[in-house]
Amino acid sequence: MSDDNQGTIHSASEGALIGLFPPPQPTQLLAAPSTSSELNTAHLRLIPIACFRLEDMLFQFDSSFVLPEVQAEMTSFSNLRKTDPRVMGAPLTIFGHADPSYLGNFDPGNSNTAGPGDDYNKNLSGRRAIAIYAALVRDPAYWNFLYSTPLGGDSWGATEIQIMLDALGQSGSSSFAGSSQGSSSSAQSSRAQDIANDSGQRQQLFLQYMNFLCGDVKLDKSADFLARGAGTDLKGDVQGCSRFNPVMLFSSEDEASFQQAWDNQDQPTLRGERDPRNSINRRVMILVFRKGSQVLPTKWPCPSYKAGVTDCKKRFWSNAQDRRSTHDSGAERKFELTHDTFACRFYQRLSNNSPCHPSGHILAIWLLDDDGQRLPIGTPYRLTMALQVRTGKLRHKGLIIEAALQLADQANLEWGVIQPTQPKANPIDRYLRARVLLDQPNHPFLSDNTAIPDPPQGLYPSRAMIVLDTDHSVVSDLTVIRIRLNNMGYPKLIEAASDIDIFQDDYDYLDQQLQQLELSLRDVHRDGTEMPLEPHTTPDPPPLKLGKDGLPVRQCGRE
């Protein structure tokens, strides 16, 4: 379990983070008793209960177009709503954010005037927020608005239509073998073009795609958002924060080199280094508040996603400029560590206790048993890394998530068993394996809605030392392969045979060559994929086709 002050993480992946806020500090009233007219006014605060942070990678670059990867994240969110009764039916508000440099416009502008960078970014960040809102409430008209009013790089077209068609399996590719690649792709893109040009077909496609993305998360404009849809231009429900609230600011050295890259129009540096590193700032944050919470749009401090930055600036700290644009020498500034990178006081108040801003790293560890099956909810564990000790019970099948950690190269993991509800003839006492990944599980998991049983005495009979696998792009490096296999318990089981052969056999990847196998090893290690339980069999030969004469027909090209 994480430290209670920071709440808990419900799910974490490359694309999104979903967290539950810690219980609020009780509002304590200091009251003057009254002998005449003394009156004590108490304002009961808005209480956030959960946050859903969508990362930049879920959108097309520099665009509000929502990519198919959102589907997996919406499934996690749906999960939370179904398993936590506080969250189902609780009102939301959505904040979009942009990164603090726009096309090299590093000057954030005078605190009293809105520079072009601030305006553009308010618009862009608002567009991303409205794109998510529209999907949640299934209103394609908003997407049509985004489509018909491009903004700089945020320009939806046939490419985006094609992505939607592909995601829906409507690419229209021919089913017979042998069609040339060229002709089928031009057939696809002409279909996309047709839809692109027809507003009616577009909106239909948008709606289908929204259903694909959001699944059973379907929200009501007038019930499920903080202002209940009563505000002009959804004031109170959706807003863009421009680049006012960065979570990370580059070191002054990096910032200077990016400034130079801009001056030299060095696209590889700008696109290849600055933009990816800045992606952490380009997020959309959905906040969920206690059921029954509601705000009057006129009183809500944030302007609508369509309005300008003036009302935002009213909420700035008096030293907002310093906060959002100071670069330290030698190190990045991070909100999670210092809580002083946001320009907006109001937004900061909502974020101070937020589990979606964990200080430190998130470590996710898949824990599977000797049969390669994920361990059940309630399995007790103890994780020791550097001087940090975390104990808990699995809240999701097979998955440990710990946040706010300082990383070390390795960690010690101990775990136990829970008593099965139906006692089996042979209790589980086999060697348990741990599969480790760092920061980024991207496989959505389903949690069983079972009650968590208590662990027995002698909590942690099993232990493993885990080496952290930090870079998922590395596949063929022997050291990395060793780490993954080691984490998965292979060398401890069998010394004689080649461990990767055993892995290959366990997972039934018999027709994979080494290169493919290395990729599979990475994926299994990262995703906690369970071993197939069916015994491996050689496939039956294809049935013989009989011709008119009752004799088997020779297939072309086969014996």
């Binding site: 009233l29 200091l30 008793p33 002998t35 108490a42 508040f289």
Partner: protein
Amino acid sequence: MADYYTVQQGDHLSKIAKDNGFTDYTVIWDHPNNSDLKKQRQSPNILLPGDEVYIPDMEQKQESGAADKKHTFAVNKNILKLRLVLQDMYEKPVAGAKCALLIDGQVYQLTTDSNGKLEQEIPLDAKQGTLTIRGDQTPFANDVIPIKIGHLDPVDEISGQVGRLNNLGYSAGPLEGSDEDAFESAVEEFQCDNNLTVDGICGPQTQSTLKQVHGC
């Protein structure tokens, strides 16, 4: 024996009076020796720890009356109330809400009016209690809100400013003002919400608005 008494946190004049055997705090409050204090603090219910209050001797009152007639003596006793207004952060009243107010062991079942106000007579030496909003009609239902009576300091003291800002939901930090960021942010938010100059400094105008918005 008449003497000066040093105010502790949580003291309010009704309590001080009762502790010293007086049923009517005005005897103390209106005493000439307390005129400076009265001028400075204005409310007998909002004193600062360290304030010096002069407690006079109890006077023997002589009333004459015919022996064979019936006489009624009324003892002046002040009434002490707790008056609260409950609103959300956007000043929407928590109206018509059933609440349980617990003061020094005594429970009062109350309902807020259409302005979110509730009012209850409390013991003269009331110290603390809790407020629980019942039912499930609001997001605040079943939260137990602790109340410390007499702990509100004057508005020209930092502790008084923090206390009022916290009551108003601005999360100004600890009473001493030791969390400077939180305090400044709270002052600025309050100033912004009330159309004052936003400078993070709780000066006379901000204090005056704060007193007005808070109610005392």
